[in-house]
Symmetry: C2
Subunit: 406 residues, 2 copies
């Protein structure tokens, strides 16, 4: 036996997660992919997300298993002092000392309560709002400004995004904050109390990207522009055989190529002269996008998807065919992409599951299957707390510790 | 003088960023907020994102400054061997050894080239696709499946998200991967070669959230459902005074409260009996959402926004008013939220700018203003490489190193 160091970036890190829904479980999933041991603690019977859609025909939650891969599952009665004490001991056990949670308002699970037991504990509390209030992606998004500029120009009302983008960003910020706090603790011995409100994630990202700044500096924001690309050129086009393509020209070279490929050189030059504009500039491409859309649309309408792909693939233009999830999965790309590997997920089936999109040293870090709810309670108590079989039986008999639920 | 340890999580970490547009600069911004020294290297005259919209009235890019806060700026001629050697030396200088880039196809900037100079170098390369091809948020999103399920049910075509959600997720994955690799290097001495394709970010997240899995397991995905919340209950309602609210009932308690507050208890109970359904279950709320929408809509139409807010604030229902960016900024919440602080940004103006949404130990880590393009070239060469004034003058005179551009 040689002593190969464990090269997973988070080897030796253990996290207890008291969480549900998207952001907080995504944080744990991500840390698990990076090599941390992640223990998800739920109420006996499961949290509010246990049966969340999508589900299989037999009602098993694809959603729950997807976000809880690679974790160990402990269930306990968090309303009883015994159950609460158990969770505190799991969080503060040697080698661990990290809590991620989106469960609000629990004094016994607060940073103050845990740091009284272990002074270098790292806690991350994901809340809806900075004052600890409840909010979800759908409500945070409504207040973010984005639904007002999303959707067809002809549509008057707000349009929600389908991807829970704020939850995803919050889950990744949470994982980043944990790893950063682990690095600090390893250097300085200090723990950390981290607060992450979902609404602040939306506000911060909107700020960095200029959406809030332009209103403050210019006095106004932007209008809904459908599928156009703000401040440069992009549009969606329909081909002769009814395929749809998103086409983007971010640079002068992209634009030159798009004009040439679509046979519009003479028309575009004539327009530039007549209007006194220069389509090699972002501003002119954007301002006159309606004209350009109309010019290029004819070419797309006269060519099939196959012809469009050949023509555009031969130049610098950025383009992509719109696809449904069924077309994406049916197209065979998951099978050939090393990001995906076959996962045998009990209760769900066998499918191609994604690893971490950031590949380290040529390989995709990936987590195993999701646990059965409550399946690891006894083993975790033995491993972390050195609990005896008698201790464990007593906790189960007292209704404090749950067992595996089929 | 006492020796206070630097408590910023990434104190002592230095990153060179050769990057442009959103994802890669967002990675650097985030690392800068966490306390790292981040040096952005651009071609002399700036990269393709230098003038990206939104811009001020005088044409200064709000976008560029927003994503490059807290960084130092070096410009050099990366087409000349001298300029390339300079960037290599900056990346591999003692104390640093980290590169983040979205510039593809440069052998001199490859992991192999840099690790030949410094064996423990960490590189992160953000590409469009796994084979190194170009792609942007707009094209990756078109292929992701999401535009097909976004937007009003009455609208046939794909609807792009306005938030560049994949770019944001990629920037955060990149920052997480860097910090994880730093932690590994500090423990094992090993560098890391990290590849992060934007298209894999979209595929991975879609996989975790079940969008790809449900197609594989159930044989079909989901349809566009407008502003509804998949698999449970959510809808947008218009009030008597034409305000719009997103309203979500994720749990049986939320639903009971929504039914009670809107005065629909009798009608909902009658419907449950007549249809043989139970609206305390997610599945029945979701399947019969059209009926529920119609019932609740009357109540919203008969009440003003003020009345709606009072009624809903008194119960557990999750709700939020749709706001434009102008309403968000004008509403005064930035002024009272400690996430924001006043930033004097040269060339842009004074505005409220967001720090890191994850607050550490009660405070928001924040980065300073964005640099003037090329302003730190001489200082960075002195600090990192011990370059003399003669060395620096020679590089500038030779056209290899840029100077500050107004």
């Amino acid at each position: 036996m040689t002593d190969m160091p464990d090269l997973r970036p988070l080897a030796g890190v253990r996290i207890v997660e008291v969480s549900s829904f998207v952001a907080s479980p995504l944080c744990g999933l991500t840390l698990s992919q990076l090599g941390a041991e992640v223990i998800r603690v739920d109420p006996i019977g499961g949290a509010g997300d246990k049966n969340r859609w999508p589900v299989t025909e037999s009602g098993e939650s694809i959603y729950w298993t997807g976000l809880n891969r690679g974790k160990r599952s402990v269930t306990c009665d968090m309303r009883s002092p015994e159950g609460q004490r158990l969770v505190q001991r799991l969080v503060t056990a040697p080698g661990g000392g990290i809590l991620v949670t989106n469960a609000g308002g629990r004094v016994w699970l607060s940073h103050a309560a845990l740091s009284a037991v272990r002074s270098d504990v790292i806690t991350l509390r994901l809340t809806g709002t900075p004052d600890g209030g409840a909010a979800v992606d759908y409500t945070v998004n409504a207040a973010s400004g984005f639904p007002m500029i999303t959707g067809p120009e002809s549509h008057a009302g707000p349009v929600n995004h389908a991807l829970p983008a704020w939850d995803v960003a919050a889950g990744l910020y949470a994982a980043l904050a944990i790893v950063s706090a682990v690095r600090r603790r390893e250097r300085t011995g200090r723990g950390a109390e981290i607060d992450l409100p979902l609404s602040d994630v939306a506000l911060a990202v909107s700020g960095y990207l200029g959406y809030l700044t332009e209103v403050q500096v210019n006095g106004a924001g932007r209008a809904a522009i459908g599928n156009a690309v703000y401040g440069t050129y992009g549009h969606d086009f329909v081909t002769a055989d009814a395929a749809r393509y998103m086409v983007v020209a971010l640079t002068p070279r992209h634009m030159r190529d798009l004009v040439r490929v679509t046979g519009c050189t003479a028309a575009v030059e004539a327009l530039e002269t007549a209007l006194g504009v220069d389509f090699s500039t972002d501003a002119d491409r954007y301002r006159h996008r309606g004209l350009l859309n109309a010019l290029f649309a004819s070419w797309f309408a006269e060519h099939t998807a196959a012809e469009v792909e050949v023509a555009l693939a031969g130049c610098s233009v950025l383009f992509e065919r719109y696809r449904s999830f069924e077309e994406l999965v049916g197209g065979g790309q998951l099978e050939t992409n090393p990001l995906f590997s076959v996962l045998h997920q009990p209760r769900i089936g066998t499918y191609l599951a994604a690893g971490l999109p950031a590949a380290f040293d040529g390989g995709h870090l990936s987590a195993g299957a999701a646990p059965l709810l409550g399946a690891d309670g006894a083993a975790v108590l033995r491993d972390l707390l050195g609990a005896s079989e008698d201790d464990i039986d007593q906790l189960i008999d007292g209704g404090h510790l749950g067992v595996a639920q089929g």
